[in-house]
Symmetry: C2
Subunit: 116 residues, 2 copies
């Protein structure tokens, strides 16, 4: 089955992560598992990609981190929560996505195949 290349998903990892944080704070390992689940294995985020997205988005003020004193499972966790700026950013990115879909669809000429 076709998979999604990184150049194609590029720029959407932020949306994907922020979407899951809209539900409430979470941490890397959990986010990663939820992405895999929601995307039905069609997309699996790489660990390094995920954690570097956290760093970048925290620097940009879209998310905030805090550490959990209780340890359930392995190592100590770093939780992230979405900020108001992050919600704004998410919304803007969603709108950009709608526009992107419109534009790229103009350059698609293939008849959409049924599931064979």
């Amino acid at each position: 089955m076709a998979e999604i290349s990184s150049d194609v998903i590029r720029g959407y990892n932020d949306i994907i992560i922020l979407y899951l944080l809209l539900d409430g704070p979470s941490y890397g390992y959990e986010i990663s598992k939820r992405i895999r689940l929601l995307a039905e294995e069609k997309y699996v985020i790489k660990e390094t990609t995920l954690y570097s997205a956290f760093t970048r988005m925290e620097k940009n003020g879209y998310i905030e981190s805090f550490t959990d004193e209780v340890m359930s499972g392995g190592k100590k966790r770093t939780y992230y929560r979405i900020t108001d700026a992050g919600k704004e950013y998410y919304k803007a990115k969603c709108e950009e996505w709608q526009l992107t879909k419109e534009v790229i669809d103009k350059f698609i000429s293939i008849v959409q195949g049924e599931n064979t």
Copy 2:
């Protein structure tokens, strides 16, 4: 109005260019103008992006170049035509696009606003 960022379009410039070459051979400047037109100014490809995409895709065997001896307008042109491999690649990328839309849409929670 919102514009499409480069990280978001990344990986689709190839599709966009190949789509226009499906009509017949063309060259940089013309392709660039046709993209702008078809995208209704919502996306304008940068010159450097376009020409580096040509180089990359020719190296990959998706397009072939030939020069026009006749000069209409300014400098001599380099024309590109899509190859069979290019058509295959275009088709595969279109299918990936359908999948990408499906996946990313799962992470979009915004109600699609009407044009206000």
